[in-house]
Amino acid sequence: MSQPNVYDARRIDPGQAPEGYADDVNDRHFVPAPCQVACPIGTDAPSYLAYIWEGKIEEAFEAITATNPFSSICGRVCDAPCEPACRRTDSDGPVAIRNLKRYVMDKLGKTHRLNPVAVTRRETIAIVGSGPAGLTAAQGLAEAGFVVHVYEMTDKLGGMMTWGIPAFRLPVGIIDEDVDRMLHRCPGITPHLGCALGRDISLDELKARHDAVLLTIGAWWGKGMDIPGGDDPRVVDGVGFLRRVNAGERPIMPETVLVVGGGDVAMDACRVAMRLPGCRNVKVLYRRGPSEIPARKDELYGAIKEGIEIIYNIQPVGVATGNDFGLRCVTTRLGEPDADGRRRPENVAGSEHDVPGGLVIVSVGQKAECEGLARHGMMAGERVKADFDGMRTADPKVFAAGDGAFGGSTIVMAMSHGHRAAYYMKAFLDGKANPLPYRTPFHTRYVPIAQDPDWETNPRHDQAFHGLGHNPVAFPEIESTYDAASAKAEAARCYRCDAETGTADYTVRTREDIFVMARTEPRDARTQRSMMRKRLRGRDDPFGPNYLATLEDLVFLPANLSRLVIDPYRDACNVGCDLPGGVHLNLPAVVTGFDDAPDEVLEGVGGAIKAAGVAYLGRRRPAADVPWLQVVVVGQGVPDAAAAMVVHAQPDGFRPFEPRRARPDQAIGLAVSGEDLEAAIPFALDRKFDLLVLQASGDVSRSWPELAGMPDLSVIRDAVAIMRRMNREEDAALLFFGGARSGTDIAKLIALGANAVVVGAAMGFALGGHTEKAGFKFYGDITSAERAERGALFLKALSSEASIMARCTGKTDVHNLEPEDLRAITLATARAVGVPIAGTHTIPAAAE
C-alpha cells in the first residue's frame, strides 16, 4: 500500500465527526499530528509517547488501546504507517512509535483489564470471521451494548493474526493477551469456534437468528501461479504454508527454497523457511525492482539480514525441466505504467534460465472464497461484493469488511474497517437510513510536552535485531523492546506536532496550515480554496469584553532613528535609586513577604537583600544589617529605632491617625489602597509623610496578598494624578506593591511614576517557595545559602531586565522612563494606566 498523504484536504478540513464519535479536531489548540492522521484508526501517538516520557504507563496504555483492540499485537507487527509520516523522519529518523507501544504493552498487556461493558441492547449481531476486522467490529458493537456472536471456522480467534504471522515476529500468547482483554471487556461477545459459513451454518440461518450480519471472512486463500507445472506438489501457496507452520508443524525443507512474490506474506514465508530444518538457502523472486517491492522495509531488511537472497526483475514462466527441480524464469524490465500506476514488468526475450530449488512457495496474493456466499451472488470474483461508503452488501442486513471485502491489507487497516462497519451497523440498527459518513475520530489527551533537554539530540534508538537466533526452529523473537530509561529517551524525541508551543502567534493550527500550504500543488485550486476558507476563519478576539488590565499589555517604544539607543557596550545604564530615610537601592526593588517565614528562610532572604543591595519592607527585619522599612499596623505595632522608615498600614482602610516614630529623624510612610487615595494622599502630604506604598494587590501587612490575583494598576495612575493635581508630585516617594514579576514590570511601573517597586510573591517563588492555600511554604530542600544565592540572582536578573528596557528606550537611567515611553496593546490596560494604545497618540475613552 502506498503511504497516504497526511497533508491532504482531510487535514485542512476533516469535516464533522460522525455521531457518537465527537472528537477534538474542533479544538483550536489541537491538530491531529501527521502520525495520527496516517494511522487508519487514529491512534493518539503523541499522547502515549508523552505519557511514556512521564512514566505514566497506565495512561499510555489507555491512549494506545482506546481505538486499538490489538495493541499487543500491533506493538510487534503493525506495519506502522505512523512512522514514515512522523515529521522527525526527515531529520534523524522517526520516533519508534510502534516499539514504544510494545514497551507499554509488555508492561501491562497481560494483566491490565478494562472495565466490562454491559449488554444494553436487545439486538444481536453475527460476525463471520474473527480476524482484526471482525473482532474490532465485535468490540465496537459490544461496547455499544449489542450482543455479538462471532463465528470462526478454525479453532482459534484472530484470523490471519493467528494463522499468518510467524512466532518469531509475534510470539505465541501475544494474541491471547489482546483477545482475553477484549472478551473480559465485552461479556456480550460469544465466540463460536469451528463454525464455518456454508459448512456449519448458512447465511440464511444467520440472518434469521440475528438482526445484522457482518462478513469479515478474510482473504484466506493464496492465489496460485498459472504456469506449466504450477500444480506440482513441490509448489505450495504462502498463506497455506504459514498456516501449517503456525499450527505447530515444522516441515523439513529442501536445501534451497524459492519464494515467489514481494509482499509481506512472501517475507514471512521466506523467513519461516530459513528457520526450518534442512533449509540452507532461500531465494525470493520478485518481478519488479528494489524500489517497487511492496514489502515493508523492516521485514525486507530483516530477511536480507537473515541471509535470504532477493532476486529482482525475475518472473517464473514454468517449472524447471532439467535435473534439479526449480523454476524456469525470465528476466524482466519495467515497461509503461499500467492501470494502477505501477510500471508493468516486461519479459526480456531470450533470457530464460533455471533457478533450482526443492520447494516453491508462491506468495503472489490472496483471495476470499466462500461457496455459501457465492451461491447467494454475494461474491464479486475473489472478494465479497460490498460498498466501502457504507460497508454494505446488496443485502440490507448484511455488511462486509476487511480483506475479504476490500483486498489484502494490514492489521491496522482491517481494524479501521472494523470500526467503520461497527459505526454503519449501529446506525442501521438505530434505524438511521442515511448516517453521516464515518471518519476516523482524532482525540488528544492534552499531555504536556516532554520537558526533556535532550529531545533535539537524542538519536533514534533502534532495538537490537536478533535474526535467526541460536535455535532458529524454535522461532525465537527477532526484536527486543526498550527499558524504562531508553523508552523515555526515545519518547522525548517526539516533536509534538499536535500541540501548541510557546507562541500564540504561530499556533498549532497556523503552523499546520502553513505546512499544508507548503505541500499543496500550486495548480490544485480545490485544495487552495479549502485552505483559503480555513484561513478565513481566523481567530477569536484574543482579549474579549471581560479582559482585565495587566502590566503585560504595556510595551516600551524603542529608540531607532528619532533618538539614540543606548549601547550596552558603551554606556552604563543606572538602575539604582535612593528612598527617604537614607535607604539606597542598587536596583529599584524592595523585598517583602517573609515576616512569618522560618528563620532559615529569613536568613536566605537577608543574604539575598544584602548581596543585591536592596531593602526589606515588613513587620520583622530579616537580618540586622539589612535596610528596613518597618511595617507598623496603626494602633498595634511599635516603631523600631533600627528601621530606616516606619510604614504605617491600616488593613481595614484609611482613617486619619497620628504617625509614630521611634526617633525624631525617622522617615515615615503610609501604605494606601486604591479606594483610599483621594483621602489618604492629601493627609499624607499634609503630615509630611516621606513615602507612600501604593497597594495594588491588597494590604502589605497581610501575608502574601499578591497570590490572590491580579493587581489593580489604576492605583498608580490615580496616585500620580492626585499628586499632580496638588502640584506636589515630588513631595513623597512612591513604592508600588502588587504583582511585580520581572524587571520589565518594574521598569513599567517606574515609567508610570513609581520610585521603586515591592517584590513579594516573585521572591517567594525565587527562594523555592511552594504555594499552599494562600501563602508560601518553604521546605528544607535547599539551604539558606542557596536561598540567598537564588534570591540575589533573581534580583540581579530583575536589574538586568529593567536596565535593558531603559536602554532600548534610549535612557541611561531607569528612572528617566516616563509614561510617554509606553504604549498599551489592549484597551483595558490603556484605560487603567492612562497611556495610548499602540499606533495611536490618544488615551482611549472609558468603556461604554
Binding site: 531529520s91 510557546g502 502553513i514 495548480r523 478565513l536 520581572s742 536578573a797 494604545i837 499606533g839
Partner: protein, 648 residues
C-alpha cells in the same frame, strides 16, 4: 597621472571617473578636494589616488586595493570598510578612523578622533599622534598602533585584535588588559612603521581582550517552552510560565534568551476582515493570471528597482542564525517564485547569491560580512537600524554557531562569541544617515536601491526621517517579527504590534504629504495571502514572510533557535544537524507555500473585482476587535467573524 578637479567636477561624477581611471590602471590626483565627503568610495583597483588638500566623511570608504594619500585632514569614517590597500593622511583624522577595515593599512600622521578602529576586523590602523576615547571599541581583529596617548577607555569591549600604545594609556576600556609585548611583535611593528616613515623610539604597551565579558556565567537551563496561554483564559496571575521564568532567573541571574518573536497574544492583522464575503471564492487555478501582482520596488531615486512577481518577499534572516542549507532553500524558493531574498546580518555566501535571483544585502552595526564586492552583486542594499524582535539591541551569535566559514564571511576570528554594537558606528542621528546612504550610492554608482530596516517603535517620527533621508523603501517590522536569539523581555515588551506600525507609518507620511511616496514593506507575523492582502489594503506596498517561510520549510516552532541544536537543521551550524535538512525538498515546500500565498492574494483581489493588487484600500477592511478598531480607526464589526467562519 590623471587629474580631477573637484572645483568643477561634482563628487558623483568624480567617483565615476575615478572608477574608470582605476579600471584603466591610471593613477589619479584630486585637486581642490575642499573636504568633500565620499571621495574615492567604491574604488577597487590598485592605483594611487593623491588628494591634494583635505577630505570629508568616508574618504576611501568601501574600497579594495587603492593607495590613497591625503595631504591634509580627513573627516569621520576614514577608510570605512576598506579591504586592502592603504591610505596615508598627513594631517588629522576625525572620529571612527579605520572603522570596520578588513585588511587595509590606514596611517594618520596627526591625531585621530574617538572610536578609531571600531568593529575593525583585520589590517592596521596607525596614528602618529594621540587617539581620542574608545580607540579599538568592539574591534574583532587587526591592530591599532597609537604612537601618542591612547585616550580614555582604549580597547572598550574589544573582542579580538591588538592595540599598541607608544604614549600613555589614559584608561583601559571594559574587558581590555595590558599584556606582555614579545620582541617579535616589537620588531614587526617597527618595520611596519619604518615603511610608512613613522620612526618611533619609545616602548610600546600591548592591549588585548581580557576575556571577562565574552561569555555568560551560568548557561540557561535548556527547556522546551511551556505552551502559550490565551490572554482571555483564566490561567492565574502566577501561572506555570511565570513561575518557570522566575525559577530560571533565580538560577542564572539575568534575562532569558530564546528564538522567535513576541509569543503572547497581541492585536494583529488577523483581527481585521474584508467587507467583501470571500467564503464563496471559486477554485480557480488561473486566478493568479487574472490579477496584476508584479511589483517594482526601490526605483524612487533612479536605482534599478527590485522586480517582484508579487508583493511578497522573503524577510531578512542571517546565515549564522540559520544554517547555510536553510538559507539556500529560501533563496532557491525565492527564485522559483520570482521574488527576493535578504541576507540579514550574516553576509552573502556564494551559494545564496547563486540560488537567489534577487537578493537584498543588509548592513548592520558590526559590519559583519559587509564589503564592496558583495554590495555590487546585490540587487538591493539595506541599512539595518533595528528589527521588531529586538529593537535597540545589537545581534549576538554564540561561539557554537561561529564556524570557520561564518567567520570567514563575516570577517572575524573563528569561534568567538560574536556581539554587535546596538547602533551603527557612523550613524548617530538622521543627518549621519543621509551621508551614509549617499556613501552607499556613491560606491555603487547609484544603481542599487537602498532601503532601511526598522523595528516598530516611534514609527511616526522614524518613518518621516526615513523618508527625508532618501531611502528607496522601508522594511518596517512589527513586534511580532522573529529572530534567532533575543532576550525574552525585549521580544515581548519592546516595540509595537505590526498592525499599529503600519497605521502610524501611513498616518505619518500623510501628515507630511508623502503618502504613496515612500514604499513600505510591512513584516512581522504575516502568514498567508489574506494577511498579505490586508497589509496592502492598510497601505503597505509589499510584505515579507520570515517565520512562515521557515515553517513552510520544516520549522516546528520549538523556539529554541538560540541553542544551536535545531532538530530540523534550520537554526544550527552543527553539521550533523544540518545534514537533516533536505534543501531541494524544502525549497520546493517554501516555493509551494509562496505560491499558495500568491493564489490567496490573487483570489482576494479578484473577489473584490480588482485587476491589480494595488487597488486594495483601507475601506475594504473592518475591525473584528475593539483593539484593532482603536488602532486602525476602521469600523468595528465583529459580526463578520461569524460570516467568515460559515464557509466550508
Amino acid at each position: 597621472m590623471a587629474s580631477i578637479d573637484l572645483a568643477v567636477v561634482p563628487v558623483r561624477a568624480a567617483n565615476e571617473r575615478l572608477r574608470q581611471l582605476g579600471a584603466a590602471g591610471e593613477d589619479i590626483e584630486i585637486l581642490n578636494p575642499d573636504a568633500r565627503h565620499h571621495i574615492g568610495v567604491g574604488l577597487v583597483h590598485p592605483v594611487t589616488v593623491h588628494i591634494r588638500g583635505s577630505a570629508g566623511y568616508f574618504c576611501a570608504g568601501l574600497t579594495d586595493g587603492p593607495r590613497f594619500v591625503v595631504d591634509n585632514n580627513v573627516g569621520w569614517g576614514l577608510a570605512d570598510n576598506m579591504l586592502k590597500g592603504s591610505i596615508v593622511v598627513n594631517g588629522n583624522a576625525s572620529a571612527i578612523a579605520g572603522v570596520a577595515i578588513r585588511g587595509a593599512e590606514v596611517i594618520v600622521k596627526g591625531n585621530m578622533g574617538s572610536r578609531a578602529g571600531q568593529v575593525m576586523k583585520a589590517g592596521t590602523l596607525a596614528c602618529a599622534g594621540n587617539a581620542n576615547f574608545m580607540a579599538g571599541y568592539m574591534m574583532y581583529g587587526g591592530r591599532i598602533v597609537i604612537l601618542g596617548d591612547s585616550g580614555d577607555k582604549v580597547g572598550q569591549d574589544m573582542t579580538g585584535g591588538t592595540i599598541y600604545v607608544g604614549g600613555r594609556i589614559v584608561a583601559l576600556g571594559t574587558d581590555a588588559k595590558v599584556t606582555d609585548l614579545s620582541s617579535a611583535d616589537d620588531d614587526e611593528l617597527r618595520a611596519f612603521l619604518d615603511r610608512y616613515e613613522l620612526p618611533f623610539r619609545g616602548t610600546f604597551q600591548k592591549i588585548v581582550n581580557a576575556g571577562k565579558n565574552l561569555r555568560y556565567g551560568k548557561t540557561e537551563p535548556r527547556v522546551r517552552v511551556i505552551p502559550y496561554f490565551e490572554a482571555s483564559e483564566a490561567n492565574g496571575y502566577w501561572n506555570t510560565k511565570v513561575r518557570e521564568d522566575i525559577e530560571v532567573k533565580a538560577q542564572i541571574g539575568r534575562y532569558r534568551i530564546r528564538g522567535y518573536g513576541a509569543a503572547r497574544p497581541l492585536p494583529h492583522i488577523s483581527d481585521l476582515a474584508f467587507r467583501t464575503d470571500l467564503t464563496a471564492i471559486p477554485a480557480d487555478p488561473s486566478v493568479v493570471d487574472k490579477v496584476r501582482m508584479r511589483t517594482l520596488l526601490g526605483g524612487r531615486s533612479g536605482a534599478k528597482p527590485l522586480d517582484l512577481s508579487m508583493p511578497v518577499m522573503i524577510a531578512p534572516m542571517s546565515y549564522g542564525a540559520l544554517s547555510k542549507s536553510a538559507k539556500v532553500a529560501l533563496a532557491h524558493a525565492s527564485r522559483l517564485s520570482d521574488t527576493s531574498e535578504n541576507t540579514g546580518e550574516g553576509g552573502l555566501s556564494n551559494e545564496q547569491r547563486e540560488a537567489a535571483k534577487q537578493i537584498i544585502y543588509q548592513c548592520l552595526s558590526g559590519r559583519l560580512g559587509w564589503n564592496i564586492h558583495d554590495m555590487h552583486r546585490a540587487n538591493g542594499l539595506e541599512i539595518y537600524i533595528s528589527q521588531g524582535a529586538k529593537p535597540g539591541l545589537g545581534g549576538q551569535l554564540m561561539a557554537k554557531k561561529v564556524t570557520k566559514e561564518i567567520a570567514r564571511i563575516r570577517g572575524i576570528p573563528e569561534g568567538i562569541d560574536l556581539r554587535s554594537p546596538s547602533r551603527h558606528p557612523d550613524v548617530l542621528g538622521a543627518d549621519d544617515l543621509v551621508i551614509k546612504v549617499e556613501e552607499f550610492r556613491e560606491a555603487t554608482g547609484y544603481r542599487i536601491p537602498v532601503s532601511v530596516k526598522l523595528g516598530a517603535g516611534r514609527v511616526r517620527d522614524d518613518i518621516k526621517i526615513a523618508y527625508k533621508d532618501g531611502f528607496d523603501f522601508v522594511e518596517l517590522d512589527g513586534l511580532q517579527g522573529s529572530t534567532g536569539a533575543a532576550g525574552n523581555e525585549v521580544l515581548e515588551f519592546v516595540g509595537i504590534p505590526t498592525l499599529s506600525a503600519i497605521q502610524e507609518a501611513i498616518d505619518a507620511l500623510s501628515e507630511i504629504g508623502a503618502a504613496d511616496k515612500l514604499p513600505i514593506v510591512l513584516m512581522g507575523g504575516v502568514k498567508d495571502g489574506i494577511d498579505a492582502a490586508k497589509v496592502l489594503a492598510l497601505g503597505a506596498t509589499a510584505t515579507a514572510v520570515g517565520t512562515s517561510a521557515i515553517i513552510a520549510g520544516g520549522c516546528i516552532a520549538c523556539l529554541q533557535c538560540h541553542v544551536g541544536n535545531c532538530v530540523t537543521g534550520i537554526a544550527t551550524q552543527d553539521p550533523v544537524h544540518e545534514r537533516r535538512y533536505n534543501v531541494p525538498v524544502e525549497a520546493q515546500n517554501i516555493h509551494r507555500y509562496l505560491e499558495a500565498v500568491r493564489w490567496q492574494l490573487a483570489s482576494v483581489a479578484h473577489a473584490h473585482g480588482y485587476a491589480d493588487v494595488r487597488q486594495f484600500k483601507r475601506e475594504d477592511l473592518v475591525a473584528l476587535t475593539p483593539e484593532a478598531a482603536a488602532i486602525t480607526r476602521l469600523p468595528y464589526d465583529p459580526s463578520l467573524r461569524e460570516r467568515d467562519r460559515g464557509g466550508r
